[in-house]
Symmetry: C2
Subunit: 271 residues, 2 copies
Amino acid sequence: MPRTPSPDTSAKRRQRVQSAETGMTILKALARLGGAASLTAIAAEADESAAKVHRYLSSLASEGLVAQHPATQHYHLGPEAVRIGLAALRQCDPVRMGESALLRLRESLQVTCFIAVLGNRGPTVMRMEEPSLPVTVNIRPGSVLPLLWSASGQAFVAFADDAELRAQAEAEYAGATAEQRSVMGGPDPVGTLCQQVRTQGCAIVRDTLLAGISAIAAPVRDARGHVVAVLTALGASNGFDTRPGGKVCPALMHEAGLISAAMGYVPPAAG
Amino acid sequence: MPRTPSPDTSAKRRQRVQSAETGMTILKALARLGGAASLTAIAAEADESAAKVHRYLSSLASEGLVAQHPATQHYHLGPEAVRIGLAALRQCDPVRMGESALLRLRESLQVTCFIAVLGNRGPTVMRMEEPSLPVTVNIRPGSVLPLLWSASGQAFVAFADDAELRAQAEAEYAGATAEQRSVMGGPDPVGTLCQQVRTQGCAIVRDTLLAGISAIAAPVRDARGHVVAVLTALGASNGFDTRPGGKVCPALMHEAGLISAAMGYVPPAAG
């Protein structure tokens, strides 16, 4: 088949890149199938011909990314896939991965925002961005926040689903002032709060931690679904939109979702 | 550059496969560098030109296998690498991966051999192969073995380096008969045994669990270095070579090493 020289060169270049991409597509297809499958199943999942997939699997096998079971001839992810995955997990840092989300939130909403992880003393602010005219708050990187009176803490307690953390929250409630307790209620105040936060998809507080300050926090999950950080935005209560469908909540939840996706999190299919 | 048609076609085919392999090589190089590195560092590690590596990294990025940090421009393993790694870890089953090792040991040494994992009751035989003229033992898949009087148990205690397992071994020693205890000695019998087993690289028992039966066991490690199984060979004491440098020990340790490598284990560099 004769071709003009120029498109041929361009096609060749694209193909070389494309072959690497096809290899990755097949690797991802095998992972989606649980890490072990027949050639037929992988070809169907990758939407490619069995002959083509077979050739790529040979390449992947020669690099240790896949291996073939001697008895069943099924393919499974190989030792190099494990090593790559462990390296990827080790460098999965929600704080680093949240940096651009903080910059986007600061720019688009002109709010103070931070990312917090659960340290040994509680929710701990790791990285913070403030707009050019920030609201004055005594929260800084390194600040440890309460579990029940901060949006960040509430997000950890509600979404982490961790019995020990829940017990710490109950202890915090038991030691709270009557005024603090007044914002919560019912026979199971911590349980009710958690339920409400989960229904909203984010934690929303007004004036509970700092007078005149409102905050919203959404969970960041890793590839295993564990809550590894929370993304929080805050502002002066008189100008900060705390409505669940308002300006801040959906944007914050969207950015938290982007960080989670970068960590490898796949949300469960909507039921 | 004119080429003859036939080698060109052949070269093209090879190149398509080769491009997929190059993509994997670069992905593995990034993993070896800890999962995050500069273009220069990745090119050096993969022993390819920066221009070529850059093109491949773009392909890997388009498939989500790598991502680029917006500030530093460094590359890091992306969310798809995490997902592939988790899938690979999930299907990493030492019992399945040990099947061919059992067949090879049975054929080459004509010994009974099995792979055991640490179940909730102790070392548990999962899969077993016997030669055509097997020695009669009352060990079957599902059998739970003692920690101190079986080679499998000793291998778990010595190599797993787990405080709880060590405590269970101490309890087993405390409850042992005088005859059982007589094969161990010194002020710290369990510690001395562990040290000896680690020095040998495998556990060797003669007649301690079953009269007239000797056994040798070597550890199988996963990608994190954890002992996830042991590979054990056994035979009648009068015909079974229990010398550390004999027929069985090196072969068994070699096969256990092959299973570990398939699990993603990388042995520490010799010091």
